[in-house]
């Protein structure tokens, strides 16, 4: 599987609800240890409406500290944050299948957590 198979794919749950497009994929270095280091494993992904400005580094997300964010211009940052305020974090354990055109997930009863609400819980 490649990263390009995930990015910008629509995320659809078992009820047919569309959670948006995959913006990014969360990696943690807690996999099998080889000679040099532990491998990175996918822990989850962020999905939200559209993809405008998601690569610019404006929006808070788990593991990304506030002082690392791109600082401005203020107008653009405010715009992107507003567009992306409903982006959600989907743990990989809730991913059912990576299809050709969409990523099928199983959403919990209360839906997924907002992405900018803090660190994701480990699987």
């Amino acid at each position: 599987m490649r990263l390009s198979d995930l990015l910008e794919r629509a995320v659809v749950d078992q009820h047919g609800r569309n959670w948006g497009q995959v913006h990014d994929v969360y990696l943690v270095q807690d996999g099998p240890v080889s000679a040099t280091a532990a491998a990175f494993r996918i822990h989850g992904l962020i999905a939200g409406r559209g993809t405008f400005g998601t690569q610019l580094g404006y929006v808070g997300r788990p593991g990304y500290e506030h002082d690392q964010e791109t600082r401005g211009p203020w107008v653009l940052k405010a715009l992107v944050r507003r567009l992306q305020r409903r982006a959600v974090y989907v743990p990989w354990t809730d991913v059912v299948e990576v299809g050709d055109h969409q990523v099928i997930v199983r959403s919990p009863p209360n839906g997924f957590d907002r992405a900018n609400s803090g660190a994701p819980s480990s699987p």
């Binding site: 599987m1 990014d24 969360y26 990696l27 943690v28 270095q29 807690d30 280091a37």
Partner: protein
């Protein structure tokens, strides 16, 4: 690379980053990432390699174009496994604003075209400093 525990966002921190070789020289960009799917039902996919080159980049635009480029690549590069140029994660020694890898750029699959062009085209120009007959990597 730090031994364990690092957290990254694939697109924000890895994708489209420059790849610097053993001598710190830009050799390619991270055009895509390869993951292996886990065998166990609750396992998580593991990042196995960085993919680079035109064939890898094309996939982010159009899958069919990418497949054609991958086929084209096999014409020039005697390659055992199909797919775009690949750098195994075991060869990545540091991840920062750029990716640092252990091999020298001439040893990379993705450098084949550049070396071919250097030896067969540029070498014919006066003052290039390229030895057209040498099959070794340029110093």
């Amino acid at each position: 690379m730090s031994a364990a525990g690092r957290e990254l966002w694939a697109r924000l921190h890895l994708l489209d980053r420059p790849i610097l070789d053993a001598e710190g020289i830009p050799s390619a960009k991270v055009d895509d990432l390869e993951f292996s799917l886990p065998e166990e039902p609750d396992g998580l996919p593991i990042l196995t390699a960085v993919l680079c080159g035109n064939a890898a980049l094309a996939r982010r635009f159009n899958r069919r174009l990418a497949q054609r480029l991958e086929l084209l690549r096999r014409v020039f590069v005697p390659v055992e496994r199909p797919g775009p140029a690949r750098i195994d994660m075991s060869e990545v020694k540091h991840i920062g604003p750029a990716l640092h890898i252990t091999p020298r750029r001439h040893e990379l699959e993705v450098a084949t075209l550049d070396r071919w062009l250097a030896r067969n085209v540029l070498a014919h120009l006066p003052g290039s400093g390229i030895d057209a007959r040498s099959d070794d990597a340029p110093q």
